[in-house]
Structure formats: C-alpha cells, structure tokens
Amino acid sequence: MNINLLTFDTIDSTNTEALKQARLGAEEGLCIVARQQTAGRGRHGRTWVSEPDAGLYFSIVLRPKIETQYLPLITLMTGVAVHDTLGEFGIDADIKWVNDLHVDGKKICGILAETTDTPNGLAVIVGIGINIKSSNLPPEIADTATSIEEHVRVTPLGVETAETVSLTQSLTKFITYFYDILRGENGRAEIIDEWRKRSKYFSGKPVRVVLENETLEGITDGLETNGALRIKRKDGSLAIVQAGDVELLRAT
C-alpha cells in the first residue's frame, strides 16, 4: 500500500473528505490529514472536538478484499496500530473494546470507520482522532478525555512532544504493517491476537455495555473471530456484543 498524504489547514471532516475522494476513485493509502475540523464526527452523529492543532485528525482510504462479516477487524487492526504509535511516544495505552484508546482510564483516541460502494469497489474509510493537547478540550469531556501532552515521556533533554507530522509518520507506518498482517494467510486470527495483547478489557473484567435499546452487565470473555465482544452474564448466559459502549465496572 502506498501512503499518499493530502493535508488541509481546515476541513469539515477528514472522513467526509476521504469518502468523497474514495467515491471519485482514490486508491487505497490516500490519507486526509487536517490541522482542524469544523464538523469532526464521532460514532453515529456524535461530534469529535477538533480544535486547531489540538489533535491529529486523520482518515485513510482502504480497499480491503475481505468478506463483509470480517470487515470490522479493520477497526480492531487500527486500534492496534494507534496503540503502537502512542508507544513510540512513550505512552502505554489500553485498547478498550472495540477500538478506543485509553490512558489511565481516560480516552486519548477514537476511531470511526465507514464503508461506501464506489465505482471501483468497496472502500473502507478509517478515521482516527488522537488528542495531542488538553487545553482545548471542552469541560464536558475534560474528566473523561486525556491527551498526549499529559503523558509524554520526560527525558533528560526535556519533554518529547508529538507533532502532527511525526505522529502521522508513525501512524501510517503501523497501519501499513498491521494491514499487511490482516491480509495475510492467518491474518484475522493474528490481528485478534495482537489486539488481545494490548487490551486489559478482553477477558475477566466486569463491564457494563450500553446498547441502543438496553444495558447489559457481565464479565468479558474474549472475542469472537469477527472481533465481537463476548460477555458472560450473571446467570451464565453469553451475550455477543456487536456494537455499544463498554464501561469498566469496579470489581466488587
């Protein structure tokens, strides 16, 4: 995959632009990077706060030849890639199912993927928002969000900062690496395995899952082969969660 960067000072949404480019025939590997988003999007209509230079706002066009039911593994793969990107900046993050990255229980990165049919086949747009600075985070998310600047490694030479450019370089390197693995012979299982190694949530943790129409509680019990989260309820029954927000409960 050839990485091709298209950078903007300001844009409505990097995902919206990437969707547009994909429909116009953009090849896999096209990345849209912006210093600011005016209409950054989160999951199902939520806003992604995107103040100027306060974060990395990044979307990539992929054209995977993967069966539809396994497409969600792309979002797990992206979580793994972001985890290792943050690792290069000295940050030890935890992947919260399905692909939020947390540091000390606070969200540092969110990922939103969208598919679209284009004249040259299915495209998957993967959007990644990484908080770099906390100063611009609005008060309503200040308690639940964190940023790179709060966790940078302090070296004898001073504080290492993550600039958009170095962050982008690192991110595209890891996405390329794990995307190759996913497309390999045993790729799906390998990605699940890589994900497990980077998530404290995947097994034996009491969680609450907020679904569109209900809430369920139980103990995490690993992942299905498509990345869905298995949760054992108190009555012993198993729930397979395909979508929803997972909160870690305190062990009692």
């Binding site: 039911q69 792309i74 979002t75 939103l112 598919t115 049919d117 679904l211």
Partner: protein, 177 residues
C-alpha cells in the same frame, strides 16, 4: 395441535345416526363457523370425523425465522405478520410479500435508518430508490456499513426498527420493483 376432547366425542357417538345425518354434509357456513371456533381457541390443527365425514382444519403459522440471536426483541416484534392469518375455509391467501425484493443485512450489527439521530431517515415507506441509493447503515463494531438498495423500485416495507440488532441475511426492506 388437534383437540383430543373433540375427536374423542366424535368416536363416542358413532351410532347417533339421527344426529350425524346433519353433519354428513357440512355446508360452507358451518365450516366457516367451525373454523372461527377453532381460530378463537388458538388451535393450529383441528380434526373431526364420524362415519360420514371427516373435516380437518389446519392453519399455517408462518413464524418469521431469523438466525438465532441473543437479543433481538424489537426485530422479532416488527416482523411481518400479514401472512400469518391464513384463511381456514380455503380461500386464496393474498400474500402481500410475494414479489417483493428484499434488501437483507450483509453483516451482524445495529440497524440505523439515518446517518445520525438528528438527521432524517435515508428512506421511508413510499420512497423511490435507485440501485445506488443508500437506504440505511448497519453498524458493526464502530464500522458504519452503508447499505445500498441495489435495485430500483419503491420501498413498501421496513422490517426492522431503528436501533435494533440485525442478523446476517435478515430482511431490512421490501422493495416493489
């Protein structure tokens, strides 16, 4: 399910010729009456037999068959029921579903009719769609899958409620071409 009480009674009175002549040839109204009675008590099968006549009433209950899912109360509740009322007297059943092209879910996930909660639905009943018209989103693990109509026609049925879980292959929309 047959009614054991009814068939036992029929067998207990094999010699009641005076009465059974009346039942020798049930007319249409009587069958209808019987059917209503059977329907009222929720039986799916009923059989009556004496030396002259044997009447068997059977109701096809077309329960929607979806792949087993741990939770999908809404999906089940909004399943089509129009075909479940079969006419017991043998009148032809008008199957509204016949000839409808169905858009099914390509993936297990959550069904959304609009791009976000504050936006209007992509389509509604009566919408005219083209093959590339986006009709809904099915979210699976933060992957928003845009679903296209893939055929031209009119949306006449929407089988699933917004926000409900859907299974692989589950019908989402019915389109009349």
């Amino acid at each position: 399910m047959s009614d054991p009480g009814a068939s036992a009674e029929a067998k207990d009175k094999p010699t009641g010729k005076g009465k059974s002549t009346g039942a020798a040839s049930l007319n249409l109204d009587e069958i209808r009456e019987l059917a209503d009675l059977v329907n009222e008590h929720g039986f799916t099968d009923f059989e009556f037999e004496n030396e002259n006549i044997r009447v068997r009433l059977s109701k096809q209950v077309s329960a929607p068959v979806y792949a087993a899912a741990p939770v999908q109360p809404i999906a089940a509740a909004s399943a089509p029921v129009s075909t479940a009322t079969a006419a017991p007297d043998g009148a032809p059943v008008v199957d509204e579903e016949a000839g409808l092209h169905k858009i099914t879910s390509p993936i297990v996930g959550t069904f959304y009719r609009s791009p976000s909660p504050d936006k209007p639905s992509y389509v509604s009943e009566g919408s005219i769609v083209a093959p590339e018209t986006v009709v809904c989103i099915v979210e699976a693990m933060k992957l928003m899958n845009e679903i296209q109509a893939e055929t031209s026609g009119e949306i006449v049925k929407i089988y699933v409620e917004n926000g409900a879980p859907v299974e692989y292959g589950q019908p989402l929309f019915g389109i009349r071409k």
